[in-house]
């Protein structure tokens, strides 16, 4: 037990933290969770101050995986940064690729062929399925369902990874998108295989939901835990499923209509309470919406080139200027901000990481709850440390 020092824990005006030297209650207990902790989803550390079992203060500590992503991006060429974007959010390399390709395409005014746009949509929605499935598995693991839901989730993940591998040559680090298209053409066999995975996914979701969504333990454990208000979510810049679970209709696929998303007919699910259960449920509903998008894209994909024949990859020297490319990644708004000064490498390379910005409200969600609740709240925020720390 660490004796909490008085001056370090003086409550700020208006905070819910009580004074430390309260003669009635005892001392506060400071618990440091992580960076090596099975449920902090990587090398993340939470310093929780406990009053009995209740969290009265929670300080996130990160930087344990700071791999100098932005600095490396500024010291290499535009194309050489593409493999690094895979390693940002290492569950969703395809969407990271797309956001970066979009930023560079806007910087140099590069058009993208029709077929490549369709392939990008297919890959982005497959990535969304993959990410949300893994999230549900990890969240259930955090709730205490040790192993089994995660095994189900990883079984499905392997099917999507097989698709990624046969397309790009790598299971996780795909490095597939290029400025002005994609690296290789998927071909008819791949599209047929993607169709099979898409058609089978609904069945998996039915099975998963039959086990979990109405499960009484799951509901008792997650409903009403860590509610996020729409006001706080908007004020903190939260995006993605976290924001929509709080009831704010903001989906960049609808707002920006980047790529060819306006052609697709899909609904944006919204949460009502913003609690952990809503955040879980919203991801399930998003997966259900991804399946019709995939189905439509796989049916309508036109023939044609996969790369713009005039696209220039090597020796790229964009004119001085700046651009911001953002897409609706599975975790939220993933964006790349580039400033060019006319040299082969960007003057400034900045990533807008959805995980980090969604994580900033962690303390607000956890105050007044127990450590066990903090674990599942963190699980429902959906962080990947490669992106939080970069």
């Amino acid at each position: 037990m660490i004796e909490a020092s008085t001056d370090a824990l003086l409550p700020s005006p208006g905070s819910r933290v009580r004074p430390v030297r309260d003669p009635f209650h005892g001392d506060l207990l400071e618990v440091s969770m992580g960076p090596h902790h099975p449920s902090t989803h990587g090398v993340f550390r939470m310093v929780a101050t406990l009053d009995g079992e209740t969290i009265v203060r929670l300080k996130p500590v990160f930087g344990y995986l700071h791999r100098n992503h932005e600095k490396l991006g500024e010291s290499t060429t535009y194309l050489a940064s593409m493999p690094y974007t895979d390693r940002l959010d290492y569950l969703c390399s395809m969407t990271n690729n797309w956001a970066y390709a979009l930023a560079v395409e806007r910087l140099i005014g590069q058009p993208v062929p029709e077929r490549a746009e369709y392939v990008r949509v297919i890959l982005a929605e497959l990535t969304r399925l993959l990410n949300h499935t893994c999230l549900a598995g990890f969240l259930l693991q955090d709730c205490g369902a040790s192993g089994t839901p995660l095994m189900y989730a990883f079984r499905e993940r392997e099917k999507i990874l097989d698709l990624f591998e046969s397309l790009s040559g790598s299971r996780m680090m795909c490095n597939y998108q290029r400025f002005g298209g994609c690296r290789v053409d998927p071909g008819a066999h791949w599209l047929a295989a993607a169709s099979r995975v898409t058609e089978g996914y609904g069945r998996f979701l039915d099975e998963f939901e039959a086990l979990l969504t109405g499960n009484e333990i799951m509901m008792a454990r997650t409903q009403g835990v860590g509610p996020l208000s729409a006001k706080l979510a908007v004020a903190a810049g939260v995006t993605g499923p976290m924001l929509r679970a709080a009831g704010v209709a903001y989906d960049i696929r609808k707002v920006d209509g980047y790529g060819i998303y306006p052609r697709f007919n899909f609904r944006v699910p919204l949460g009502e309470h913003g609690d952990t259960y809503d955040r879980y449920m919203l991801r399930i509903l998003e997966m259900r919406e991804s399946i019709p998008i995939l189905r439509q894209a796989l049916a309508e994909i036109p023939a044609g080139p996969i790369m713009d024949p005039k696209a220039r990859l090597r020796g790229l020297r964009p004119k001085a200027g700046e651009s911001y490319g953002r897409i609706e990644g599975p975790k939220g708004e993933i964006g790349f901000y580039l400033v060019s000064d006319g040299t082969p490498n960007p003057y400034r390379y900045r990533v807008r990481p959805p995980s980090l910005i969604n994580l900033t409200i962690l303390e607000d969600l956890c105050l007044g709850r127990t450590i066990a609740d903090a674990v599942i709240i963190l699980g429902s925020v959906d962080i990947v440390l490669g992106e939080v720390d970069r």
Partner: protein, 208 residues
């Protein structure tokens, strides 16, 4: 009298199992290697995938991922070790009881990998802790991790429990604590454990 492996096989066919204490001990140790449940970066996801149904690390007796270093035999350094994280990794290694083994999984754990240029990235965990098996790849496939595990099992099976090449924990009584680096002025202090790692000598053409 020396018994050849052929004679042993012959006896085994007749229902007589002949073994030595050393063989029995190593057989048991090498088929129940409990890894530490500890992920650092991208490779950790592949490590989790290895323990799932498709690749099923349980076939090799290593499915028991322990969250506590006190119960673990194997440290899989799965991912980029940053300078902020390196002291924690070495501390975890020190907390593990002997006999213990270390696998450096992926390019980052071996040498810093694609992030080697980074100012905050440790250029290989073997500067601070002794690594038994290196698995290249970015990230290595689950099959590669399984192959690394089999390589480690072969290494354990080959260890003799007495003599000069006995494993650390059966050897001299010196401490198995490794010095934990700390943040110095502009780098980790010390930058390496000189007993474990020395920079390779520069290769020069022989003088004519």
């Amino acid at each position: 009298m020396e018994i050849t492996p052929e004679q042993k096989d012959e006896l085994r066919r007749h229902g007589i199992l002949l073994t030595s204490l050393e063989e029995l001990y190593n057989w048991g140790r090498s088929h129940s290697v409990w890894p530490l449940q500890f992920g650092l970066a991208c490779c950790a996801i592949e490590m989790i995938a290895t323990s799932m149904a498709r690749f099923d690390i349980a076939r090799f007796g290593s499915e028991v991922f322990r969250p506590s270093p006190r119960q673990a035999d194997l440290l899989i350094v799965s991912g980029t070790v940053t300078k902020k994280m390196a002291p924690q990794v070495v501390r975890l290694w020190n907390q593990m009881p002997e006999p213990k083994y270390c696998i450096a999984m992926g390019a980052c754990a071996i040498s810093g990998g694609p992030f080697k240029q980074g100012y905050n990235v440790l250029k290989g965990i073997d500067r601070y802790i002794p690594v038994d098996v290196y698995i290249p790849g970015c990230p290595p496939r689950p099959e590669a991790l399984l192959n690394g595990l089999i390589t480690l099992q072969a290494k354990i099976s080959g260890q003799s429990i007495s003599g000069p090449d006995a494993p650390r924990h059966l050897g001299s009584a010196d401490s198995c604590e490794y010095p934990v680096p700390e943040f110095g002025g502009h780098d980790l202090e010390p930058p390496k454990n000189p007993d474990l790692w020395q920079p390779p000598a520069p290769a020069r053409a022989p003088k004519p």
